[in-house]
């Protein structure tokens, strides 16, 4: 049985000619190697081992246009290409499965229901960069994912897909399943590497970038689960096919985690550029607003991305289109809220998260998120003072762009956009010492 009861659009994906990541995620045996192989699994891995050079693999992924699905959107193949060819050091691959961006629950489904797809993608990426030891860094709380990944890894070894001289190719590849200790920051790639090394999960200054000096100061590539799970499909069906999906600059398909006030929250794989309004209202996806209440706002890409107001949601879900409306694709976590949500209350939830998860290395983020939380809590509890909004904006301005890793920016961007879109509501909260809308969400 499935561990997670989450809704997916697997049926649509199965009958669609191009969608692929979710094709078998409703098959209760897909996590077993026999079923995975019967569905064409490890074919791409064998194809790579039996006739492609590492450069050819990297070129294919470059040509496909695949970009990182964890949040930053960096071209995957290009990243692989940064690994120095002449380096005598070992190279490492780390699959980033520290899924913790509020709103995001897609990698979990891939690991629980199609773990071999993740391993096959990891193996191909490892081959492309000349790596012989690869890691998957799973957040500590995902116990079921860890079990599934370990079980799948053991099966992959037994079937000769991992280990020494894989399928007679002379290529060796070992794998370690590593679990975290409960820290959002470890999803940031340099903090993740520190965590694998047994250090506190704090970000590192860049340069050097991990591709040059990463794990144990050796060339290292860190890729998201969904990015890697896309790779076998690109190898099987070709870069041209993958590049024909999506928009001009955002290629392929993407899983969106839809949550909040919709009738049908779930994980949906769609082509890049899919319309956000459709995702929320179409019966095949979100099926409209819960209790038919009025939409107030949407966070389109996880808790660190700027808000959209209802007039902005007729937009494509891709890297460029969301940029044109002042937001970001992020991890593809679409969080929807109705008019009963006080914006100060929403921000209070978000800033609490970022203050708690700040690693404390950079002063602007460590101190700034704490000040922001105190001021926002003050406003929310009816004790806001004149000038608080301006003070919040000032603190935000002193965090943005002044930290080693993007956590500081992530904390600030939603706040800035919430003030921009709903300034009157913030002012009302300070002047009237109460919410403009009474937030009181009850569970069933």
């Amino acid at each position: 049985m499935f561990y997670s009861p989450v809704i997916t659009n697997a049926a649509e994906v199965a009958s669609h000619k191009d969608l692929h990541l979710f094709k078998y995620v409703e098959d209760p045996k897909q996590h077993e190697i026999g079923t995975y192989q019967a569905h064409g699994g490890y074919k791409a891995w064998k194809k790579v081992l039996n006739g492609m050079t590492a450069d050819q693999v990297t070129e294919e992924v470059k040509k496909s246009g695949l970009r990182g699905r964890g949040g930053a959107g960096f071209p995957t193949g290009m990243k692989w290409g940064f690994v120095p060819k002449a380096s005598p050091k070992p190279r490492y691959l780390c699959c980033n499965a520290d899924e913790s961006e509020p709103g995001t629950c897609k990698d979990r489904v891939l690991m629980e229901r199609d773990p071999h797809g993740v391993i096959e993608g990891m193996a191909i990426a490892a081959y492309a960069i000349g790596c012989h030891l690869m890691f998957i860094y799973i957040r500590g709380e995902f116990n079921h994912c860890r079990e599934r990944m370990e079980q799948a890894m053991n099966e992959a070894y037994q079937h000769g897909h991992l280990g020494k001289n894989i399928h007679g190719s002379g290529y060796d590849l070992e794998m370690i399943v590593h679990t975290g200790g409960g820290a959002y920051i470890c999803g940031e790639e340099t903090a993740l590497l520190n965590s694998v090394e047994g250090e506190r999960g704090m970000s590192r200054m860049r340069p050097p970038f991990p591709a040059i000096e990463g794990l144990y100061a050796c060339p290292t590539i860190v890729n998201n689960v969904e990015s890697l799970a896309s790779v076998p499909h690109i190898i099987n069906r070709g870069a041209d096919w993958y590049g024909s999906l999506g928009t001009e600059k955002s290629k392929g398909t993407k899983i969106f985690s839809l949550s909040g006030h919709v009738k049908r929250p779930g994980n949906y794989e769609v082509e890049m550029g899919f319309n956000l309004k459709k995702l929320i209202y179409d019966p095949a996806y979100g099926n409209g607003m819960l209790e038919d209440k009025k939409l107030k706002g949407v966070i389109p890409g996880g808790a660190s991305t700027p808000f959209l107001t209802p007039d902005m949601i007729d937009v494509g879900l891709d890297y460029e289109s969301l940029q044109t409306v002042g937001s970001m694709l992020g991890s593809g976590a679409v969080i929807v809220f109705n008019e009963d949500a006080c914006i100060v209350w929403v921000i209070k939830k978000l800033i609490h998260f970022f203050r708690h998860e700040s690693c404390g290395k950079c002063t602007p983020c460590r101190e700034g998120t704490s000040w922001l939380e105190q001021m926002i809590n003050r406003i929310e509890s009816g004790e806001g003072q004149p000038g608080d909004i301006e003070k919040i904006e000032d603190v935000c301005g002193n965090i943005l762009g002044r930290t080693i890793c993007p956590l500081g920016d992530a904390a600030v961007m939603p706040i800035q956009s919430a003030i921009k879109h709903w300034r009157d509501e913030w002012q009302y909260h300070i002047d009237q010492k109460q919410c403009m809308v009474k937030t009181n969400f009850d569970f069933k």
Binding site: V6, M202, F443
Partner: protein, 158 residues
């Protein structure tokens, strides 16, 4: 030694795969926590002997992460996600409901040491909100009825 022979063996097996000893810190802490439900100074020293990494490096790492608390908690650790997706679907009221049912406040443990209730950041169950994690298991799409059933089952098993 407080760590059992099984735990020590598991730590040795897990950490042997890594190119460097220090990488064994998190796996060792995880094994220790699974056995004991806490990891304190004494355990850091034990781990230090097993994986041959200085005590201070283990303490340094352990105190950064939320999953290696120094004190043990109730038999069932209930962690309710209070982040935005769950909050929109009533996580705050779920926490209050659990407080009433268990007769404790958030952060406390019941007198019989059966339940500890805490609230935590996003657990990646956003499309199946609200949710709670009890020990290693996720309970999702929670309703009052479901919560009642889960608590009843745990009480009867205890």
């Amino acid at each position: 030694m407080i760590l059992t022979q099984e735990s020590i063996q598991e730590i040795k097996e897990k950490t042997a795969k890594y190119p460097r000893k220090k990488s064994g810190i998190l796996p060792a802490l995880t094994v220790a926590y699974r056995q004991l439900g806490y990891v304190d100074d004494e355990i850091y020293h034990e781990i230090s002997k097993v994986i041959k990494v200085p005590y201070v490096e283990i303490a340094e790492a352990a105190t950064f992460y939320t999953m290696f608390p120094k004190k043990s908690r109730g038999k069932y650790l209930i962690q309710v996600c209070h982040n935005i997706s769950c909050a929109l679907l009533g996580a705050d009221s779920l926490i209050s409901y659990l407080e009433d049912k268990l007769g404790i406040k958030k952060g406390e443990t019941t007198a019989d040491n059966l339940f500890t209730l805490i609230s935590v950041e996003c657990l990646g169950s956003c499309s199946t909100a609200p949710m709670m994690q009890i020990n290693h298991d996720f309970h999702e799409n929670l309703t009052r009825e479901k919560v009642d059933g889960i608590l009843e089952t745990l009480r009867s098993e205890a």
